[in-house]
Amino acid sequence: MSEHLPVIVVLAPLFGAVIVGFFGSRDRRLCFPIALTALALSFICSIGVVHHVATVGAWDYFVGGWESPHGVGIQLRADGVNSLLLLAIAVVALLALVYSIRQDGEKDAEKSPFFYVLFLLLCVGLFGITITGDAFNVYVLIEITALTSYGLVAMGSSRRSRVAAFQYLVIGTVGASFYLIGVGYLYLAVGSLNMADIRAILAANPEIANSRIVGTALVFILLGVWTKMSLFPLHGWLPNAYSYCPSGSANLMAPLVTKVSVYVMIRILFSVFGLGVITENPGWSELVVLIAVGSIVAGSVMALTQREIKKMLCCLIVAEVGYMVGGTWLGDAGRWGLTGSMYHILADAMMTSCLFLAAGVFAKQFGATRLEHLSGLFRRSPWVAGAFTLGGLAMIGVPPMCGFFSKFYLIRGAIESGHWLYIVALLGSSLVNAILFFRIFEIAYFGEVPESSEPFEPSEGEGATPRRYAVWRTAPLLIAAALTLLLGIFNRPVIDLIRGTVVENTGIVSMEE
């Protein structure tokens, strides 16, 4: 079966979801093991994919065996970037799953099977988006991701979660439809949907590549994915949506959904339109970098004003998205910006997952949803506090955390292409993060332990849970923190793989003159 790994990665959670839906409602204790098995399977497969890509090279898989003529069937493609992203998705999803183990007696327990079904289908969407090589297929999978996200957000027990979900639905559908319009224009111009095929056609006939239709296609595809990734000024929906949904699903969505959209942007840019669009229209890429800077600034400022942990983290996501979009559009000769943002996709997935898991643990174990609830955390549970600290340091970008190295390459790209404003924004937001997180560290480190070691009044939606589930929540957090550190220390193999792909896809000679 080893030659089918790319598709099994996607199928495992799909089958898992179906089986859970079939048996789960009869016996709820089956749900968690099935889901765990499914995700573990796709985790193993994604390791296999990464290994194959690292040793052999890019891997094409033609669904239905429609390999020739090219572009008739649907093609899956795994290369240096998305194989790593597959792995990251699998890891984050596993951690979130283990965290979100539900027990009977919890309220709306009869819905828990369907929570798992939606969870797994969301993973299907993410995996599928990441590995597909077909422009329209991306749309279908985006819709799966979106629908499941609406469901998961609306499962939050706060009244506001429903409104957030509805706004998310409207915005998300508009975004996906914009993407669909873009693909339509592209299809109208070149008559193909296969990414590689489109690339070849655009490369072969420049008059098409420079036509207004293709330009409009690019604009709308970008608008679509920017809406999905909540880039400023389209970021309004994200903080509500992610901070009111149950933390079990926030741990999955917040780290991954935006990152995958960023990945889609990068994929569309360098394997459909080609990075030429960045370097050949400096005016436009200048504008995009400005938007990214705006996103960074807006995210940081919003985060400064928040007193709720989850909200603050959500605002930081907006800023991080700004990093990646800006880095992609720097258009420096050495492709350092692109490398940086690709690495940052992974790094940010890991550290956001770590931070959100930590926020979830705060809420569940200590009923702490606001900064001031965290006082004395270091003494109450040093491990949780330590893990959160690691995540925060990574967010600030302190070596040897992964956050530092992505900034290292992003700034290199920015200096080479002379985007000083971007550098200022990047460093500024790093300083803002430092302020934010050290504010929390101070509260957690100096603050008095509240005399009642019992959890606070459990906030809406985050019912305090029996102690025996504490380990299920804490273990993923610790693993995520450790991964955040390891990804930073051992960044070299990752960077090498990414650079290999970048160099091969964009044809720059590797490095310094």
């Binding site: 302190v398 070596p399 040897p400 290199r412 300083l431 101070e442 480190y445 100096f446 960044n491 650079r499």
Partner: protein, 506 residues
């Protein structure tokens, strides 16, 4: 030039203290084992460093590259032990042992809380310090620099009261803020400019076409970015960090942290710009004057201080500028002097801090004005204090004399009479703020002691020294700073290796 040897010794030297961390956590209940582990780790670290010493003295380099070689344009993590790194590593690892002994005495004497955390982060910061010393390229240097800033934060804020909070906050704002805001862009700019960050061989920027403005901007970015060097106006974290327990102030804020700052600045001058480029651009004088102003101002402020530790802090700021000024003079002897001064000042200043701590442990006094006549009750402590003060001031027969001699000589060599005067003035000022303390301690009568004298009881009964574990280390370091005057050869050789190997030509 030197042939470089591949060896894992530097890595072990760094990790030996990090490896102590889990053990310390393991033995957090049994205090004795915990402290034994700390000391053993110190000994191990020192032995690793000493094992490397002969190799370096033969004019070799030890290199260790992790995560790929620099061939593909990415920056690997490189450890490289050269003379300069060796000087610093030697000082830090020698002084760690007495400091840990001292801190045992101090912490026990004051029954401090959460000592385990203290020892853990102490070990981590030593790990980072040696990492900086052995860093083979700018990235590695920066990584360890940041680890040091973070791992010392819990030590600075050890007391966890409002004052500690304030101190810790300004500590972080200064160190983290400047390094993120200045060093990162400067470092990456250097990388873009020259395509490498490696310290080996000739200076990184030696053959790049920097304009005067670019060069100046970079130099300032580094000089202020490594704000552990406490150049004015970014010095204020150092006095406020004095809220830390004295062993912390002693090792970190007299030796490790601040010396890391000046060490990085020396690296900047020698290995990033290179003396020739700096001289060619003529931006060295800017650095000189900043250092000179800091030098005099800090000494003047120190005169006005009454809190002993604050006074020491300001004198530290002054002495650091000696080192920076010395290297910025770009003459061989000045550079030699400043490298020597790293060692000499370390020994002298750590003695002074030990004494301050010992006084506090024994009598609970922090103000200079309260010290009248204490010398008769704590003769060893104050003798050591006198020695340390003399060494820092630069009187023979203390080590400090040699380094300051070279510095002055270098200043004369460079025909910078004004800077020469700055040296001399501040030397006078050093004396002016140190010796009143000694005078008070030994010659002024102690108010409530008169009664005891009246009934003629021997003042031996008045002997109230600090605990033995506090006194031994300070005696050791005091003697050390005397010995350094008579046997400076090791440091001298290392320094000359730096200058004749590291720099293009003497």
């Amino acid at each position: 030039m030197e042939n470089s040897i591949h060896s894992y010794l530097p890595l072990w030297a760094c990790l030996s203290s990090l490896a102590a961390v889990p053990l310390i956590l393991l033995f957090r209940r049994e205090t004795f084992l915990r402290e034994a582990v700390t000391i053993l780790a110190g000994i191990a670290k020192l032995s690793f460093v000493l094992a490397m010493l002969p190799i370096i003295l033969q004019g070799n380099m030890i290199e260790l590259t992790l995560f790929g070689d620099g061939s593909d344009g990415l920056v690997p993590i490189v450890f490289r032990v050269d003379g300069l790194g060796m000087v610093f590593a030697l000082v830090a690892s020698i002084l760690w042992i007495p400091t840990s002994i001292y801190s045992i005495g101090y912490m026990r004497g004051l029954k401090e809380h959460s000592q385990t955390r203290f020892y853990v982060f102490f070990a981590v910061s030593l790990f980072a310090t040696l990492g900086v010393a052995f860093a083979g390229n700018l990235l590695t240097l920066y990584v360890f620099y940041e680890i040091l800033s973070l791992s010392t934060w819990p030590l600075v804020t050890h007391h966890q009261d409002a004052e500690a909070r304030r101190g810790g906050r300004s500590y972080l704002v200064h160190l983290l803020g400047t390094s993120i805001a200045f060093v990162i862009p400067a470092m990456i700019y250097v990388w873009v400019k020259s395509g490498t960050l490696d310290f080996g061989g000739q200076a990184i920027l030696a053959d790049t076409d920097l304009s005067y403005v670019q060069g100046l901007a970079l130099l300032l970015a580094f000089a202020f970015g490594f704000s552990k060097g406490a150049l004015m106006p970014l010095h204020s974290w150092l006095p406020s960090a004095m809220v830390a327990p004295t062993p912390v102030s002693a090792l970190l804020h007299a030796v490790a942290v601040v010396k890391v700052g000046v060490f990085c600045i020396i690296r900047t001058v020698l290995n990033i710009f290179g003396m020739d480029l700096l001289g060619g651009l003529g931006i060295d004088l800017v650095l000189c004057w900043i250092a000179a102003i800091t030098l005099v101002t800090a000494s003047l402020i120190a005169l006005t201080q009454d809190n002993l530790k604050r006074m020491l802090a300001f004198s530290t700021i002054g002495q650091l500028s000696y080192i920076i000024l010395g290297i910025a003079l770009l003459t061989e002897h000045a550079a030699l002097g400043s490298i020597l001064h790293i060692a000499m000042h370390a020994f002298g200043k750590i003695t002074l801090f030990f004494c301050a701590g010992a006084i506090f442990v024994a009598t609970g006094k922090k103000q200079i004005s309260e010290l009248n006549g204490l010398g008769r009750r704590m003769p060893i402590t104050f003798a050591a204090f006198a020695i340390g003060a003399a060494s820092v001031t630069g009187l023979p027969p203390m080590g400090g004399f040699l380094s300051k001699l070279y510095l002055v000589w270098g200043a004369a060599e460079a025909h910078q009479i004004a800077l020469l005067c700055a040296f001399l003035i501040s030397a006078v000022l050093n004396g002016a703020y140190f010796f009143p303390v000694v005078y008070r301690a030994f010659f002024l009568p102690e108010p409530e002691m008169d009664a005891i004298h009246a009934d003629g009881s021997c003042c031996v009964s008045g002997w109230r020294e600090a605990p033995l574990l506090c006194v031994l280390p300070l005696a050791f370091t005091a003697i050390g700073s005397i010995l350094l005057f008579f046997f400076p050869s090791t440091f001298y050789d290392l320094a000359s290796i730096v200058l004749h190997g590291g720099v293009a030509n003497p």
